[in-house]
Assembly symmetry: C2
Homo-oligomer: 263 residues x 2
């Protein structure tokens, strides 16, 4: 079956978009056929991968949710994320500003949390191995759709106090979704982002996370690496922008570990 992973954390700026873009490309480098979906009205995943200006009438994730376009119509192939033999493929369903109205637009729809699950139902294993969903920094209807469509949740966490604060509420939300809407939802893992081993705060928060999530904290940690913050400005993933960087190494490690943790 296709692996569907929601990359979410309602805390802002913890590296959700950076993780979806670079973990996604890392997985194609390991031969996976990957679909990325931008569910954030800021459309930063779309901009990060070089699609700042969409072709006119291009379908977006809003259209897919609203049932106006199929997943396959909206998925845009991205240039060779790896052109050697055995490398995978990468496609993106772009985000759009129109997503900012989703909470109100879909509020009265019956099954408003299940729109994405229905849309992803036609993503068969013939086309994709893995789908990554980039969520906005809140627990609104778009994130709930991702939690209902996915079987696994990947949570990027910046090792600082405020990001730690949000985790309890995140887990409660997952519990509620599992109880009412998606019984199979599991926590794939928590991954530390913007990590500096020299910062005491980062080490202390990492130790706290290891206690709370003993078997769910990824070994791979994404180190603070300015190349990861520069790459989106060139519309490139880290592997194209700076293949030898710490960011490229770390995200490849994360991709490998994710494949080992096959659900």
């Amino acid at each position: 079956a296709v692996r569907i992973i929601a990359v979410m954390n309602q805390k802002g700026g913890v590296g959700k978009t950076t993780t979806v873009a670079n973990l996604g490309v890392g997985l194609t480098r390991l031969g996976q056929r990957v679909l990325l979906m931008d569910l954030d009205a800021q459309a930063h995943l779309t901009a990060s991968l070089g699609l700042e200006e969409l072709p006119p009438h291009a379908a977006t994730s809003f259209d897919v949710l609203a049932g106006q376009a199929s997943l396959l119509q909206a998925a845009i192939p991205l240039p060779g994320s790896g052109s050697g033999p055995g490398s995978g493929t990468l496609r993106l369903v772009p985000g759009t500003l129109a997503l900012s109205g989703a909470d109100v637009v879909f509020a009265a729809r019956i099954g408003r949390e299940l729109l994405l699950r229905k849309a992803l139902a036609d993503a068969t294993a013939a086309e994709f191995d893995c789908i990554l969903l980039d969520c906005p920094p809140n627990l609104g209807v778009l994130t709930l759709n991702a939690l209902c469509a996915a079987r696994e949740v990947l949570v990027p966490v910046q090792a600082e106090y405020l990001a730690l604060q949000s985790l309890a509420e995140l887990m409660r939300t997952m519990d509620a979704v599992r109880e009412h809407l998606n019984p199979g939802l599991t926590l794939c893992g928590v991954v530390l982002t913007r990590f500096s081993r020299t910062k005491t705060l980062n080490r202390e928060v990492a130790a706290t996370l290891r206690e709370h999530f003993p078997d769910r904290l990824f070994e791979a940690r994404i180190r603070e690496n300015v190349a990861l913050a520069e790459a989106p400005g060139f519309g490139q993933d880290i592997f194209r922008y700076r293949p030898g960087s710490a960011g490229a190494q770390d995200y490849l490690q994360l991709a490998k570990e994710l494949l080992r943790k096959e659900a």
Copy 2:
């Protein structure tokens, strides 16, 4: 008149909450009577200032918006932010998880964007000199309420590419609010946060901001300073946690510059 400033940026994790907490206390150190309002469902401002557990039946910013509690009933005095002669006072209207439902709860209310303006109307100059509003990382109904209640907007920006991306949409939103709901709304300024002079990316983005906002970029820049990320873990502002730190110096500079820019 009371200065009402919305501290907002829909980009997540750029330092909104850190700015409201520490600029707020900085202003009291300069003798101002300050009210802070936590409009984020994460309630990080509330936790950062040591109020993780609210007394039972405490009124929150949700109650104030819903018209169930007055501003003065909900405002909690915070321990001496400066106890010498001439130091000001600090009060906080706490956030609550209930805010996460605001978009749907208030969607059908007539004048849903104007609830906060009404609630702040009874904040007279007899009590406060300055009110700072901490907004969530989106352009939903809570941020719109802040933009309608405020006369000025302060925009924290992390000097990285993705944070720059969001500014165009932020300005468009301000224009729309000014045109339809709050003609007096002005941009007080843009302040750089988590700034490292040694990072080329930070210097380049700062140069771009200076071009786009020639007379609106604060001189004061908030440097990357781990003490600012540690302080919330102790429920303290930066002045109490580490008075000699770069963070304390920078936020005091910002407070002084803000008072010079009196609207």
